[in-house]
């Protein structure tokens, strides 16, 4: 054991003591730790050997107590379960700071509802236990609370309290009906952006397993928002989640769209309501890009809404019918790969459906097959990660790769929800606007000429909060092609 290697770690820590009134400042430390050390070991080495006044919490050291959550290089992590890395930046979670890396956990935890046992002494059924277990692993580290965008703009009890509410709702031993209370606590303010899920050290899928399920319970108790009910009614009567305003994409194109040159691949195309009826031109731009790059596109005309707006808002009664119609239309044509270009539809087909075919997002497809290089456009571009693409489908690098092919300059901005999702834009427009406004501020900071995104909801919504044009990646690529053609 004596042969254990030592390593030097440089680390930058945001130090602050709000009681002294001084401003937060980064301080750099260099410590020697044993090979394989965790971020927590680095903190302990600093406190033991350099500065005993460094404040941070830790207890179990095994990822079970949730005391040591901090931001490591900007991401919430448990310090005891994260390997130390040279040049790490350690900051407190985005919660009120007591000192240095210690934040106020108690104010939030003391609001967590407890279980009031009924007299029944009835054990839950096995299937109830199976439903509770995935949301029961919570270690109350509050990573999710620290990243929730809705909590920053509206009165929302937050992800882990909603998780706890669902846990109580599932348990027959708590006989209360707290669902109406959860609506008051902001059940419908969640944009289902999945930031909580991604930050959770225990991988608890709060949006899908708690928020959306609570919204289903709310629906059964007649508590669905009126605007959401209207959307559901529209889907029920027309098969579409948006009102018709002109000729749709499906009406404008043939069922089989042949590429200009050699056929390199063939895909079925699931278009989604927004691209079909609201943002039609973007969709047509994308078809041009696909034609130019050898992709044969088959567009079954009987496809309907994927059901995402219903799932997100807890109105799942006709969902099975929608799923069957959509799956059948591709299966009938023998299609083995279905292309989506709407981030929300893509996430829904991938996660809420069980499809006998592969579902591939447009960014994945274009990177997979490679595209003809467009002419570089003389613009500075920033990219807004759609929640349902980044966190819903784990797609981050592909859109950036495509943007770098066509834009002269690319600048990043933080990946935060724009406020359009989860039924918030339709149901709670003020909240959506507040979140959109925050996006507008971030966009301004980048100094970009164009905002690029890959989701019709984001595209539509962000445009209301910025004076820069908001474009789909494919529209930008097509501009690059047109410039190239014009130069020839």
């Amino acid at each position: 054991m004596s042969g254990i290697k030592k390593e030097k770690i440089n680390v930058s820590i945001l130090r602050q003591d709000p009681s002294s009134g001084s401003e937060p400042e980064f301080r750099d430390y260099t410590v020697e730790v044993n090979e394989g050390a965790r971020a927590l070991d680095v903190l302990m080495a600093i406190r033991d050997n350099i500065d005993p006044s460094l404040s941070f919490r830790h207890c179990c050291g095994a990822g079970q107590c949730g005391s040591c959550a901090i931001k490591i290089n900007g991401e919430p992590k448990l310090a005891c379960m994260t390997a130390a890395a040279d040049k790490m930046i350690l900051e407190p979670l985005d919660l009120p700071v007591l000192k240095d890396l210690s934040v106020d956990l108690v104010s939030e935890l003391s609001k967590m509802p407890g279980l009031v046992p009924c007299e029944c002494e009835e054990l839950p059924e096995k299937d109830e236990i199976d439903k509770i277990k995935p949301i029961r692993d919570c270690i109350e580290c509050l990573c999710c609370v620290s990243v929730c965008p809705a909590m920053k703009v509206v009165d929302f009890a937050g992800p882990t309290r909603m998780r706890q509410e669902m846990r109580l709702a599932l348990d027959p031993r708590d006989s209360r009906n707290r669902v109406p209370l959860t609506v008051d606590e902001g059940l419908f303010t969640c944009t289902t952006c999945h930031a909580c899920y991604l930050s959770c050290p225990k991988d608890i899928e709060i949006p899908g397993k708690a928020i959306e399920k609570l919204r289903e319970l709310a629906n059964r108790q007649g508590l669905t928002l009126d605007r959401h009910k209207e959307v559901a009614e529209l889907v029920r009567t027309t098969g579409r989640s948006v009102e018709r305003s002109g000729k749709t994409f499906l009406e404008k194109v043939p069922e089989v769209i042949e590429p200009y040159g050699e056929v390199r691949a063939e895909v079925g195309f699931y278009v989604g309501c927004m691209y079909n009826m609201r943002v039609v031109q973007t969709c047509l731009d994308t078809i041009e890009v696909l034609k130019r790059n050898g992709i044969r596109v088959i567009v079954p005309k009987e496809q309907v809404c994927c059901g995402s707006p219903l799932i997100r808002t807890g109105q799942t009664q006709i969902l099975d019918h929608l799923k069957k119609t959509n799956i059948d239309c591709f299966v009938k044509r023998g299609i083995d790969t279905v292309l989506t270009m709407c981030a929300g539809c893509g996430a829904t087909l991938k996660k809420d459906y069980e499809t006998p075919f592969e579902v591939i997002d447009i960014n994945q497809l274009l990177v997979k097959y490679g595209i003809e290089p467009p002419e570089i456009l003389n613009v500075k571009v920033t990219y807004h990660d759609p929640c349902h693409l980044l966190r819903g489908q784990g797609i981050s690098e592909e859109p950036r790769e495509l943007i770098r092919m066509v834009a002269k300059e690319f600048v990043e901005m933080p990946s935060i929800c724009c406020g359009a999702g989860g039924g918030v834009r339709s149901g709670l427009p003020d909240e959506a606007k507040a979140l959109g406004k925050n996006r507008g501020i971030e966009i301004e900071k980048t100094g970009c000429d164009v905002v690029v995104t890959s989701c019709p909801f984001c595209e539509f919504h962000i445009q209301e909060s910025t004076d820069r044009p908001v474009k789909n990646i494919n529209s930008l690529i097509l501009e690059g092609y047109r410039k190239k053609d014009g130069n020839c």
Binding site: D41, N49, R57, A62, L109, G114
Partner: protein, 541 residues
């Protein structure tokens, strides 16, 4: 002038782990209760880290006599039989409490509590929630606390029990900033857990540093069997700084095999009948011997393998193990874990009667800080049961204490202040002293002990007592108090071991003949208090 921050209540519970929260819930039936928690309540103590399970006789084919026999045999017959009787007869009721309060334990298809086999038991008696049983219990208790009217002082560390006229009447603590907080109470329940942190390699959380033992000792309480420290057979060996992290006994309970570097299933040599599911003292010694004799792995452990089990079975029964090892680059579905013994549990502690009363008026205790229940070696799954059974009893007894006018002794408070001021003017870094202490304990008071080694440890620790600990600022006062208490606890362990001239259970003396028939040992408990120390003669032997 006594102090500015004085809180008054009927019952003060020190500690917010499984035993403390259970005691508080019970005591709250009799009057106002304050929990003093060193951590944010719910996050401290070792209960949330406990993985394997909770022993309770729930099956009509099992019986509490059998559970008692297993516990006594596992404890090398050093246990107090009366305490064992209480443990085994009330564990099922306490398990039911948890279930009624919403605990989500694993169930059989027949909707009964699922029970798994654990070491040293002749029946599948260990109830569980995957391999996060303690976390499940703690969440349940915290959920229940949140609907009770119990006030919680988060992040206040107890540094001294307050006494008035020979009776414990409260406690002094330090808040995050090092300010003194005084609490007056009719009764105090000590539920501060164990002290495996006095060893270099251990499973314990950061608060498992034995302050409760030191607090009780200074208040005049009698402690028994402090030499009985359980080394859990399976602690992680990698990463180096996280070595000792608990690998649950459930891994072996669910079919995990121990193998040396030659691929030999060596437990067949040490305990052919029970093999991996022998008692913890025997498995720990076997692993230590394999490593000492050169049959260990490159990282200084032995292999613990579940890769022969079905992937889905591992995912369902050992999800936390899977997650923790994946996090450090090992997929236990495909490759073996590497493990070595690690300091885990204090069987010894404050002497209590069946009501959780200590030898000092006004002071009750429950959980790992107490002694006598588990004897010389604890069975896996008995400590979670212990926290609930004796947590309830201690809480109830404290709750029933008479309400009286509460006085704080200003002389004692002045003495506490003087001690704290001394730290502000000290010289030596507590972190350095802590490190030295842990090394001494691991080296000479670990799995294998000799009289010579123990005496060397004793003189080394006595030297540390003389160090003038330094607090850089008030917020570091607690570091000094903690290290001072760790030293006191370590002394109790080493002196206890010197007092016991036999190899028995966890007290393995290589310079003495092994105790073949512990039930015939002439010795009983070792005992230590401010006034006396010694070893009892066994009754009837």
């Amino acid at each position: 002038m006594v102090a500015e921050n004085i809180v008054e209540c009927h019952v003060l519970v020190i500690g917010s782990g499984g035993a403390g929260t259970r005691a508080a819930i019970e005591a709250a039936r009799y009057g106002d209760v304050v929990i003093m928690s060193r951590s944010v309540a719910g996050k401290g103590g070792c209960t949330p880290m406990a993985e394997g399970g909770f022993n309770a006789v729930m099956n009509p084919e099992d019986c509490s006599t059998l559970h008692a026999e297993d516990t006594l045999r596992g404890g090398a017959y050093l246990n107090d039989p009366e305490l064992v009787d209480v443990l085994v007869s009330e564990a099922p009721e306490r398990m039911k409490d948890l279930v009624n309060w919403g605990a989500v334990f694993d169930l059989t298809p027949e909707k009964k509590l699922a029970q798994r086999p654990f070491g040293g038991q002749r029946f599948n008696r260990t109830c569980y929630a995957g391999d996060r049983t303690g976390h499940e219990m703690m969440m349940t208790l915290i959920e229940h606390l949140r609907v009770e009217n119990i006030s919680i002082l988060h992040e206040i560390s107890a540094i001294e029990l307050l006494k008035s006229g020979g009776k414990v009447c409260g406690a002094a603590g330090l808040d995050r900033n090092g300010n003194l907080v005084l609490i007056k109470a009719d009764a105090v329940v000590l539920a501060t857990g164990g002290a495996a942190q006095v060893y270099e390699v251990n499973t314990n959380c950061a608060t498992g540093n034995g302050q409760g033992f030191a607090l009780a000792y200074r208040a005049g309480a009698e402690l028994i069997d402090m030499e009985m420290v359980q080394f859990h057979p399976t602690g992680a060996v990698h990463p180096y700084d996280a070595r000792g992290r608990l690998i649950t006994e459930a891994v072996r309970g669910e079919g995990g095999l121990l193998m040396n570097k030659d691929g030999e299933r060596f437990m067949e040599r040490y305990d052919p009948e029970r093999k991996e599911l022998s008692t913890r003292d025997i498995v720990s010694r076997s692993i230590a011997t394999e490593i000492l004799e050169g049959r260990g792995t490159g990282k200084g452990g032995v292999y613990l393998d579940v890769s022969h089990l079905d992937d889905r079975y591992i995912e369902e029964k050992l999800p936390l193990m899977l997650e923790q090892f994946l996090n450090f680059g090992v997929d236990i579905r495909k490759e073996p874990m590497e493990v070595a013994p690690t300091a885990h549990h204090f069987m010894g502690g404050v002497r209590i009667d069946t009501n959780g009363a200590t030898t000092v008026d006004g002071l009750f205790a429950c959980g790992e800080v107490t002694g006598g229940i588990h004897g010389a070696n604890r069975l896996g799954g008995n400590s979670l049961a212990d926290t609930q059974v004796f947590g309830k009893r201690a809480g109830e007894s404290a709750g029933k204490s008479p309400v009286a006018e509460k006085e704080i002794d200003p002389v004692q408070v002045e003495a506490i202040r003087a001690r704290l001021d001394g730290y502000l003017a000290g010289e030596k870094s507590p972190a350095e002293v802590r490190k030295q202490l842990k090394e001494i304990m691991w080296e000479s008071a670990g799995i294998y002990r000799t009289e010579k080694g123990l005496k060397k440890a004793l003189s080394g620790i006595v030297d540390l007592v003389g160090e003038k600990l330094k607090a850089k600022g008030r917020e570091n006062l607690i570091d000094c108090c903690t290290v001072a208490d760790m030293i006191t606890t370590a002394l109790l362990v080493v002196r206890g071991s010197i007092l016991r001239p036999e190899s028995r259970g966890a007290n393995t003396r290589t310079d003495l003949d092994p105790c073949i028939k512990p039930e015939e040992s002439p010795y009983g408990h070792t005992f230590q208090s401010l006034e006396k120390s010694g070893i009892e003669k066994a009754e009837g032997n």
